[in-house]
Subunit: 173 residues, 2 copies
Amino acid sequence: MFSCEILRIGHRPERDKRVTTHVALTARAFGARRIYISNPDSRVIKSVQEVIDKFGGDFEILPTDNPKEIVKKSGSKVIHLTMFGLPFDDKCEEIKNLGEDILLIVGAEKVPPWVFELADYNIAVGNQPHSEIAALAIAMNNLHPISYNLDFSGRLSVIPSATHRNMMDLAKD
Amino acid sequence: MFSCEILRIGHRPERDKRVTTHVALTARAFGARRIYISNPDSRVIKSVQEVIDKFGGDFEILPTDNPKEIVKKSGSKVIHLTMFGLPFDDKCEEIKNLGEDILLIVGAEKVPPWVFELADYNIAVGNQPHSEIAALAIAMNNLHPISYNLDFSGRLSVIPSATHRNMMDLAKD
């Protein structure tokens, strides 16, 4: 079974609060088991933890003040998502065929040079500027066979509907 | 040729500034031709316009104070991306086979009921809470055959690299 961790670097407090929250929730929904966030606002941790508590799963969100050490001590293949990298489509099969666990690095605006140097792969989901959230979703969706259709068996769950908002709450029903 | 427009609703000034910017940049990079944003901060428009000016393409970003009218007057199939909708994977082929232009609606946290009512499809990229940016990327990547590998022929372009940041600037080189 594919195991994937995410490292979010370059988070700027306040400014990146919501984007980093989206990165973490995407990581969870698409099947990562853990995200490390360098110097996060406490509100980011709190709001992601609330989603985990309500919607289930054993996804972990962990702050770090030493992202470089996370990379160096990781036994996984290190894949840095960057618009400057080689085309993801050219490398996706190669990465899958490694059969190894993956540490995906997701940067904010500027990424320090050590990230490029320590990564096993510097990979681009397109070479246009867009969003690390979009890149993460595409990468995980292609690397992970189940991806966004995972079942989390949480207290809250959505009842899919063609027409309206509908949720089941095990604490109430 | 597939033609896709995006409508971003529920944008909350200041709070959603960066997320909405990511929505717009993802729309552009994945091949949409236009995004409408309800009541955007002027900074969102400005920063997306700067990317268009530098990196090319004829993507348009337009503010609107009447998103409902945009939907009503659109001749396209209206697809609302929502975690409460039917599974995207079950509807993707059906939507592609329509061969029609598409208006994708991307909401922020709470979406008014009229969006569900006016949409031809309410579709979920997974029923977990994650990110409208991730949902947009997955939807466009599946609906659009070229998606994030589009060529924009802009002044600035990335030279893909396995090891470092490298850009070509036609104004300098």
